[in-house]
Structure formats: C-alpha cells, structure tokens
C-alpha cells in the first residue's frame, strides 16, 4: 500500500487487490461523523454511472483513537483535472467536449438518483490515462430524499467559493438540486477550456470570488467549436444566478451538449 494525497478528513492509500485490480483505500479519521461517511458511500452506490469510481467494500477498523471507517474503491489512474490544468494548461477542444459530455452524463445519472454532488470543480474530477473524466469525492453530496446533516440556520452552506451557485452558498436548502451542480459544472468547463475562472480571475480573495459569483454574469464564452454561439448560450444559461433561469435538468444540458458534439463531428 502506498499513501497518496487525500482529503482533510481521510488518509488515502493505493493498493493492488487480487480480484479488483488497482484500488484506493480511504481511511477516515477517528471521530468522523459516521452518518457523513455513510452518506458519502451511499451516494456513490446509488448513482448508476459509468464515470464514478465503484465502491467494492466498506468497513470499520478499531484504533486506539477510536473506530475508523474505511472504503475500498476503484482506483482511477491519472491525475485530477486541476493538476492537469496546472501542468499543461487548458484542454484541447476535443478534450473539452469530452469532459462536457462525460460529466453531463454523470450528473444526469446523479440527478436520477436524487443526489447533488455540491462540489463540482477541477479538484474533484479525475482524468485517467485514456483521457476519460471521472467524478470523485462525494463528501458533501446532498441526498434530496434524506434529511440534511448540516444546520439549516447557517448563513453559508458547504461550498467552494466561485463554483457554488448563490442558493448553495447562501444555504437555501430547499433550493439545492441538480441545478446547483449545473452552475459549478459550467464554471469547471470554462476553466478547463480557457484556463481562466471567470470569478476567481483577478479576485483578491475568496470573498470577492463569492461576491462575483452571486452578482456578475460570466463573460460570453466563445470557444473554438463549430457551435460556438450555442455553447456560449449553454454556459450562459447554466450559470444564471436564478436557478429557474437555468436549464430545467441535467438531461436538457446533456441533450444540448450532444447537439454541439454532433455538429462538431460533421465533416
């Protein structure tokens, strides 16, 4: 087992399993809320999607500091989209369209399972060795059919500034649905395509990025694809401050992206 970078609440190891092949083992710190861990596991198990690493096994292990929950899941060999952008700059046109299509399909599947990821950003997307994109880290996912685990009265919810839509940042629980992921998805796409995050670019701190995300429209994004205007329209729609002005659901986003991809593939 080799330790690899993990999150604040867990240690992550890579390993080889005799039947499942390359796996990662996530060991949560003692004292991590069991319900939170179980929700994260449940989110992954409930979403029937090709681009979310599979969970093979879960359990707990006693330690002197208390029980530690662990998860053994499929390992995606590659790097995060964040690392990829840092290392090699913006994605190519074909890569952007692939990211758009694969992530839209994954989020459509999450929507069908009534799960909102709530933290779509380049750090939580893995690019594997074949160039496919995987959605990871359901640590703050929201199950729309289950009671919320975070306090309703908090002024701010769990979110990453600049990616989360206003309703999520402001912790308006009743308004958080797949359209929250839609907002963050669009910003991730823009960042992947241009290397620039519209709300973080030039912002002096997270508060400014947050304020911009709540008040400013994104600049029109004319990317070098055949359906540039249509893609710009889509990104504009996905990032509306009011969720009722975004696409109705992820299927609508996926259909739109498929039209753009189809147009691109025409000779």
């Amino acid at each position: 087992m080799v330790q690899i970078p993990g999150g604040a609440q867990k240690a992550v190891f890579s390993a080889m399993h005799q039947t499942d092949g390359e796996v990662v083992i996530k060991v949560f710190q003692p004292g991590t809320d069991a319900e939170t861990v179980s929700r994260e596991i449940l989110a992954v198990q409930n979403i029937n999607s090709a681009r979310i690493p599979r969970i093979f096994e879960t359990g707990t292990v006693p330690t002197p500091a208390g029980d530690c929950a662990w998860v053994r899941e499929q390992r995606i060999s590659g790097e995060s989209l964040h690392s990829r952008l840092q290392r090699a700059g913006p994605l190519s046109k074909d890569e952007v369209l692939k990211l758009a299509h694969q992530l839209a399909a994954t989020l459509r599947d999450a929507e069908a399972a009534k799960i909102v990821h709530r933290d779509i950003k380049p750090e939580n997307i893995m690019v594997d060795s074949t160039g496919d994109f995987w959605l990871v880290d359901f640590g703050i996912a929201r199950h729309l059919t289950m009671r919320s685990l975070t306090a309703d009265a908090r002024i701010f919810g769990k979110f990453t500034p600049g990616y989360a839509p206003p309703e999520q940042a402001r912790n308006v629980k009743g308004q958080i649905d797949s359209r929250a992921d839609m907002f963050a998805f669009a910003l991730t796409l823009i960042e992947a395509a241009t290397g620039v995050h519209p709300f973080w670019d030039g912002a002096k701190d997270a508060m400014e990025a947050l304020t911009r995300s709540e008040t400013q429209p994104i600049p029109r994004q004319l990317l070098p694809v055949k359906s540039a205007e249509s893609l710009a329209d889509l990104l504009d729609t996905m990032t509306k401050k009011r969720r009722d002005q975004r696409c109705r659901n992820m299927q609508e986003v996926l259909d739109w992206i498929e039209d753009i991809v189809t147009e691109e593939q025409k000779p």
Partner: protein, 427 residues
Amino acid sequence: MEVVLYDGAFLRERDWTRYARWSNSLMRLHLQFGFGMMEHSKELVKDWRGGQVILSPRDLTDDQLDRLASSIRSLAGGSVLLDPQFYLPHADHDRLREHEYWPATYSTGSFFGGPALSTLIGQLTLLNGRLQTRGFILPGLHADRVTSEWLETQRLVLEEARAQAGDRPLFQTIALSDVASRNTADITSLIEHCADNVADGYYVVVEHPGGDYLVDDPNWLANIVDLCAAFKLQGSSVILGYCNQQMLIAALAKVDAVASGTWMNVRSFPPEKFKAATEDDMKQRATWYYCPQTMSEYKVPFLDIAQRQGLLQDMYPLTPIVLPKIEDLFAGGQPSTIGLTEQVAFRHYLHCLRAQAAAMHQSTFDATADEYRLLLDNAESLIARLNRVGVRGQMRDFARVIDSNRAAVEVLIADRGPILRRRWGSL
C-alpha cells in the same frame, strides 16, 4: 393594390407579407368579454373565421353565458373559455353572486381547506361542461403579494381540479397586484412554485401600476414577460388576459394568446371592477382611433390635425382587415366629419391588435426580438414626426412607454434569451 370583400370588411392584400404567414405558431388574440361586447364578439369571430372568447360572468347572467357560448361555438372556428372571476370572493360582487357556482359564504381561512372548494370546482366543472369550453380556467385569488398562503391556495385549487375536471385542459389563474408584479422576488417565488405544480396552462392577469393604461415601469413589464416565458419553458400554455397593445411584447415569451376587448377595463386588469357592484361607467366619451404603426391611439380631432399637417396617410392601418368606416377616414374628407363611432373604433382596434399579434412570432427567438425592436423603432420615429406637428395620443401615446418596453426586451434576452433561442421551435 387589390381590395377584396371579406365578410363585411375589406381585406387588403398588402406588401406586408408577413401577415400572410398564418400558422399554428402565431400569437393569437382572444376576445376578453366585457360590457357591450355581445355583438362584437360574434361579428369578430365571424370576420376572423374563428376565435376564442373569454366569457365574463360579471357581465353575463347564467342564461346569457349559455346563449353566447352557443352562438360563438356555432360559428366556424369559434370557441369559448370561462373566466370564473374568483379574484376577490369576499367582495361579494352582486352580479357574480347571482351565478350558481358562486359560494353563499366565503372565508379565505376555511374555504380552501374544506369542502367549499370542492363544491366550487364541482360547480365550475359542470358549467364548463355545459358551455363546452376549450379549457377550464381555474378560480384564483387576486394576490396582493406572492405569499406562501396564496401559493398554497393555488396548489389546492389545482389539486382539486385535477381530481374533478376530467380531460379538459386546466388553466391556472395567476392574478397579481401591481405590487406583486413589480416585485422580482415575488415573481421568482411564483415561478419556483409553479415549477413544482405545473398546470396545463396559465391565465395571467396583472394589475397595472397606478391604474395606468400604458405602463411606464420597465421592471413591471420585464417581470410579466419573464413569468410568461418561465411558464412556457415549463411546457405550459399561456394566455395573458386584459391586454392592450403594450403586451404585444409577450410574443417574445412565445405566449399563446393575449386577450383584449373594447373598453379600457378589459384592456388592463382592474381588480376594483370585481369589488363593488357599481354600474359600468360607459357614458359617451372621446372616440379613439388606433394607429398600429405607432401603437398609439388618437382622438379623432387629432386626425384632423394630422390631415392638415400632411401626415394622415402615414397613420393608415397597415393591417389585413380595414373596415369601410376606417377607409373613409383616409378618403380625403375631414376625419372628424366622418362620424367614427366608438363601436367601429373598438372593432378596428381589435382587428389591428389581432393582426399585430399574429405577425409577432417569427421562426426564431432572435428574429422575433428583432421584429419587435423594429416595431418599437418605427413607432418611435412616426410618433416623433406626429408629435412635431401637434398630433398626440395624450395618455394613450405609446412614446412614453417605448423605453420601458425596450428595457423589458433586453432583460428577457439577458435572462432567458439563450434558452428561448434553443427551444423556440418546440414552445
């Protein structure tokens, strides 16, 4: 230029070819029934070879409802809807109370949570069946503000109607005060509510701020257009009731129909009309000529001025149907000597509005927006020329609201342009 006799009116074949583009996607004009509209309704539906009349129980007895509905339905393409006008039930308007469906007693607190609502929907289901309406406009309270209580009454009405109304399409009434309709947060919360409680269609009636006929409040207008667009994007039909020419802008939201009528109190929504049982104050007043190119109305003496200043011909209605008496205004004599009656002026207004509504929807959202902008630009230009020589529409002059309309267009484009652009063909 060919002139063809057309059911008592003259149909002009003009080079304004877009009027020939009748299709299923056009924005229709429904007739908003009001005082003195019995004959107008029948004649107009006949002239148009079809049309829908929104019946008004406030202005018709039960017996008259039956007879008028039957007459309209007997005309080719004629159909009716019934507006139950349950906006202010506590006001107990005398003529509304006479209808069988109207509850004997009303208290908001108990009405919607008990059997009284069920009885009301049951009675209206029967009445709609008897009148053979094309859809069921549901009773809806006039909302001073969009509150959770009001939204709950809307939900209960829709739920009850779904249980009772059978196959007839359900149109939920959205009746908003000027305050609610100016408040963007209210509109947003209404849209959110309706996204979770989608009706087949919406019948939207909105009070004008300050009771103004033409409204110079861009936010009010932007909110209404936004609301209508949201309903359409949710997959529902939209009828915008109590409209005048300012609501041609609703075409940008792909609204299915606007409804208008003769007097001003059916061209803008006046809630007080459903309060006291006062008689309609319809005594003879000035007769107004509607000039579709300027979207303004002018008292006939101002047509005299236009004639003296050499601009009268620019006010000739460029619409398919031009009534003989309207032709006479432009035949060379002094317009005020022609004897233009209110009745002809009303009918002319509705012919024009119908033609303008039908011409608004283009094959794409952008083309429709361009068309509307052009309409505003052309109106502004002609109004300026008319104003310079003293021809003014006074309180019915569109000049003072043009910028509000322009602002509302730009807000819609910014807020919903991309999604309307994409889904235009399927709305």
